[in-house]
């Protein structure tokens, strides 16, 4: 697998406020990386650093193992967190305009604009002005704008915000297609269930620093906790595992957070002596739980 995008030790201060305090991020070619962090963690500032929109105080951004050049940046597709569109322009005209700015000739830009408008489900809205579209449809235009010049690296800041499930599915499909075509994709999102579903790799930042990076499975397994869930066959007994912390549970179910080193078989055997078991699960916490653990530390 080739090296793709590398972000190494980015630092950035705004006055006395430290926005980035050593962010590292790797997005190899043909890989989809979720870039997670609470609000103010430094995700958008990092993305602006990648795009060269904001000068960094220290650190490096590389592409294919060497410092990223202005020429390399022409091959980035960017989707900002807030809608970055001219409200008065028509959809096709807008997509083609950004294509031209990104270096396409007029004919290719128009042809691609039509193709991408069709791909994001806006084939019949091409002559509408952006301001006439719903928030979700504007987000689709934004995606087409990011893809029109067929970039090698996609940087998507909160791409799922404001999308309905159909649009989320469409966007996920397009992102997967791009990865299959060898494009490096990095995206931020607060919808952790979508991230867990979509991304194989994630990087979590908090307080301007990279806190964890790896595959979703590895990150979940690296948690010092496991989630034990027992569905009881009858009345819920007053049983709890040693070193376990009870969590809110629906009727007929007991949920506990237990140390990762716990012996699952022993716990199940102990629980079965307290009451009848209908179902038991013992697994690493979800990506959302891991995220919360890291964000709180």
């Amino acid at each position: 697998m080739s090296s793709g995008l590398g972000v190494h030790g980015l630092h950035k201060k705004f006055g006395d406020t430290v926005a980035l305090d050593g962010v590292d991020l790797d997005v190899p070619r043909g890989r989809l990386v979720g870039f997670l962090g609470p609000n103010g963690a430094g995700k958008t500032t990092t993305m602006r650093g990648i795009l060269g929109l904001s000068a960094m105080d220290a650190g490096a951004v590389t592409w294919e193992g060497r410092p990223m050049t202005e020429q390399d940046r022409h091959h980035i597709g960017y989707m900002p967190q807030e809608r970055g569109l001219y409200q008065g322009m028509r959809v096709l005209e807008h997509i083609a305009y950004i294509g031209r700015i990104a270096g396409l000739d007029a004919r290719t830009a128009e042809e691609r604009a039509g193709r991408w408008a069709d791909r994001v489900g806006l084939a019949d809205r091409g002559d509408d002005r952006v301001q006439e579209l719903s928030t979700g449809n504007q987000q689709r235009v934004q995606l087409a704008v990011a893809l029109v010049h067929e970039p090698q690296l996609l940087v998507l800041d909160e791409p799922f915000a404001g999308l309905d499930p159909v649009a989320v599915s469409m966007l996920s499909e397009i992102m997967a297609e791009q990865v299959d075509n060898g494009v490096s994709v990095v995206f931020s999102s607060h919808q952790l269930d979508v991230v867990q579903e979509l991304a194989e790799y994630v990087t979590i930042v908090a307080g301007g620093r990279t806190r964890a990076t790896g595959t979703v499975t590895d990150l979940r397994n690296s948690s010092p906790h496991r989630r034990l869930e027992i569905r009881w066959a009858g009345a819920v007994p007053s049983w709890s595992p040693p070193d376990g912390v009870a969590e809110p549970s629906p009727h007929g179910v007991s949920r506990f957070l237990v140390p990762a080193r716990s012996d699952a078989a022993a716990l199940i055997a102990d629980a079965s002596s307290a009451g009848g078991l209908a179902a038991v699960s013992f697994e690493p916490p979800s990506l959302g739980d891991v995220f919360l653990e890291l964000a709180r530390t």
Binding site: R73, Y78, G84, I98, I101
Partner: protein, 400 residues
């Protein structure tokens, strides 16, 4: 790719602005106004042909003499005669007093006025009577009518001025005033369009998408060129309407010398648009909301107003000559002073060259400074960038 990107930005600015209803309506109105002047002049001529009608009372003057006087005065006055008997002087005096007749001619010859003499009538009748007397003397001397006519042909008298005139020179001055108004109004209107365009890009965050593909300076160049070209196109359409109306109606005799001013006017207006569009765009980058525009625009209006008022005072002949010379060389006021001084012919060729050179230098410097400031201010949101920060940025220092 920079030039291609700049032209793409410029083309978008032209396309988007030109198709707005407001732009099309305003352009249409301006063309109609431009056409209306010459058309009205052609339909309702002021009339060199409409000679002033004058009624002359005659006392002891025969009809043949009266006809001869009318013939001599025919190019300047339309004379009608009313005879009076020598004994009816009281009637003549009353008619003069009542305005029934403008003047009376008695044998002698003597002109009789009510109170004060009318200078135009007096001059024409004096000339006619002199010619009549010369004709009579010529015949007495045996000269033929052709010889007398040759003798009476007026000499053509030229004029020369030791000092250049400060007085307006008809159509040349009208053209200069059009140049002044264009240099004053176009940068305001189109500069504010440039400013609003920048604020729109900042407030909608489209600026982030644009700057991920092009440099701030390229974006600025494209915007200034596009909006400036649109302004010049609008001016060209209006001027074409005016010229077409002048040619079709033949209402005015346009001196060919006027066309010599045009290159200076065009360069001055283009320079003014470039420098003010850049300045307005730069100020637009300091703010994040259109509501804040008024906070930053005031400093731009100071040189604009100064240039306009000093240019007007120059026309009236009441401006301080040193101030006029200085402001002609200052890039922010030169676009308004140049057209007026060129039309008044109160400017030396070297001054024109220096003024245009400084204007070009000013545009170049401002675009460089604006490009530097732009890199920091375009992504700045929230409170507006202060004047102190702007000064630091323009000197190349960074701000947080």
């Amino acid at each position: 790719m920079t030039w291609a990107q700049a032209t793409t930005v410029a083309a978008r600015e032209i396309r988007v602005r030109a198709r707005t209803r407001a732009f099309r309506v305003i352009t249409g109105i301006l063309v109609l106004v431009a056409i209306a002047g010459p058309t009205a002049a052609a339909l309702w001529p002021e009339g060199d042909d409409d000679l002033r009608s004058v009624t002359v009372g005659l006392v002891d003057v025969d009809d043949a003499t009266a006809e001869q006087i009318a013939a001599f005065a025919a190019t300047r006055l339309d004379l009608t005669f009313r005879p009076y008997a020598a004994s009816a002087r009281a009637d003549l005096d009353r008619d003069l007093s009542d305005g029934e007749i403008d003047v009376a001619l008695e044998a002698g010859p003597t002109l009789v006025w009510d109170r004060a003499a009318d200078p135009q009538i007096a001059a024409v009748l004096h000339g006619a009577l002199q010619q009549l007397d010369a004709l009579s003397r010529g015949r007495e001397l045996g000269l033929g009518d052709d010889e007398i006519a040759k003798m009476l042909t007026p000499v053509e008298i030229g004029e020369r001025h030791a000092q250049p005139s400060n007085q307006p020179r008809g159509l040349a001055m009208a053209v200069a005033m059009i140049g002044l108004m264009a240099a004053f109004l176009l940068p305001q209107l189109y500069g504010q369009l440039a400013m609003m365009s920048v604020v729109e890009e900042k407030s909608t965050r489209v600026i982030e998408v644009l700057l991920s593909h092009l440099r701030p300076r390229t974006l600025l160049m494209g915007k200034v060129v596009g909006i400036g070209a649109l302004a010049m196109a609008q001016l060209a359409v209006v001027v074409c309407g005016l010229v077409a109306a002048l040619l079709v109606t033949d209402a005015f005799d346009v001196p060919s010398a006027i066309w010599q001013f045009v290159p200076v006017f065009v360069i001055a207006i283009v320079g003014g648009l470039a420098i003010y569009n850049t300045l307005f765009a730069l100020l637009g980058s300091l703010i994040s909301r259109q509501e804040d525009a008024s906070q930053v625009m005031l400093p731009v209006f100071i040189p604009l107003m100064a240039g306009f008022f000093v240019a007007q005072a120059t026309v009236a002949g009441s401006a301080n000559p040193t101030l006029v010379r200085v402001l002609t060389l200052f890039p922010l006021t030169a676009p308004m002073l140049l057209p007026i001084r060129v039309a008044l012919e109160t400017i030396e060729p070297w001054e024109i060259a220096l003024s245009l050179g400084l204007l070009a230098l000013g545009v170049w410097l401002l675009i460089r400074i604006a490009g530097r400031v732009y890199e920091f201010t375009l992504l700045h949101t929230g409170s507006r960038v202060g004047w102190g920060q702007l000064l630091r940025l323009s000197r190349g220092s960074a701000i947080d």
